[in-house]
Amino acid sequence: MRALRSEWLKLVSVRTTWILLGAMLLIEAAYAIGVPAAQKIEDLRTNDVENLFIGTPLSTIFVFIVGALLATNEYRHRTADSTFVVTPRRERIVFAKLAVGLMAGLACALLFIAINAGFALSILSHRSVKVDADTALNIYLGMGVSLVLTCVLGVAFGALIRNQAVTIVLGLTLFFILRELLTSILGDDIGAYLPGPSLLALQGPIGEDDLLSQVGGGLVFAGYCVVIAIAAVVATRQREIT
């Protein structure tokens, strides 16, 4: 609990966290208002599910960075010295950071969903576009879980890599940007199990046939988080703080 409280304080006591959260919510609000308001009624009626998905990819990037910063700030600003002197059992620190990443991801997810649902659903309803309640629930659930897991992934990947710039650039490239390229190289069967496509599957049905089911995508993506988190714990225990 001590390490958890300390890591939470580290997260909330730097301005960057609030800037990233604010930027994410502002962009999401702009999407959630702009897209359903600006699109033609016919387009909205044929693509109503996708209209709920707006903004999510960008938000996952923001929460990934929040998680990555929580882990890599220790090395970027060399606070790992005092952190590991006060708490020599380093695995406790990594577990605490992962838990804080989960909590931060959950907070981001709830705010994201509140803004998305508040604006997008209201505008769609106002424009008489019907959205199936079960589909909307599935999508919001998937979006929420994806944001939570992505924040945890950011923490785990950052704790494993240490270097802040490399964590963010490599992480975003591997998990978000190279999705199509990797899938085209490896083929759809294998490609569906990559982090990017599995995350996309988790976020909900958006008309892509080559993805896993939502639950399947969630499990695979959670698996990546667990594997990378274990690697981060092992690496943190072993590494020398010089």
Binding site: R2, H77, P88, I241
Partner: protein, 299 residues
Amino acid sequence: MAEICVERLTKRYREAVAVDDLSFKVDGGRVTGFLGPNGAGKSTTLRALLGLIRPTSGRALVLDRPFAKLRDPARTVGAALDASDVHPGRSGRSHLRTLSAAAGIPTSRVDEVLALVELTPARNRLVKGYSMGMRQRLALAGALLGDPRILMLDEPANGLDPQGMRWLRDILRSLAAEGRTVFISSHVLSEVEQTVDEVVVISAGRLVTQGPLADLIAEQRPVFVRTPRPEEFKAVLEIDGASVSTDGRDEVLLVHGLTLEHIGTRAAEHGIVVFELTRTASTLEERFLELTGEGGNVR
């Protein structure tokens, strides 16, 4: 039981040997200076003691245990390794709160140590606006959070102005007077000279000497002799077993191995006029340079 015990500690980084078969002990209730040129292995030794790096061989123990095995490390050892090791976007108080929370120390103690290091007026300012001296004070506040029995400080005087140096000296002396062990590495020798009781001197990762500061400075101090007949008197003293050198001036002899009384008596016996006869007061810096020479770099 020694408070700090380093036993045959060796740390290699690939081909470079940072610490080489180093052994020493530090007892409690005094200020011990850990001295050596840059690259001598001081920081590496401190990091090994704090469990941040693993020794290649040997042991670095605190209260006879590896640091990670201490029951309550934050209340046993307070450490400040580098004053820059703070997130610049946090306030000084927030920084200390993250440490106190991790150690289970109440927030009221944060305000106490901030007052102790005289940072209360700047407690809510972001650390990026702190001067180096303020960062040093913040680092010391962090080390004092757990009211620890042992303090390990790496170059705590760096960046301090003369008033800050005096303040640091006073606070370290008062902490030692309370029975704590204060172990400070430094190359600001003039400051250390006025602060420490004992010294551990290392060079190129190896122990050069350890002991009370007074003994170290007094050890082998030559006697300064000024006479108009240096060659003649030198011959007399060398017959008595002295080692005699000069400092470049015509009339000056530096005599090792004889007492003041012996030299004065021999001068009188031989009718040699002596203008000046005194024990030289070597400084820690002179002894440090004598002991460590130029071989301070990591091999």
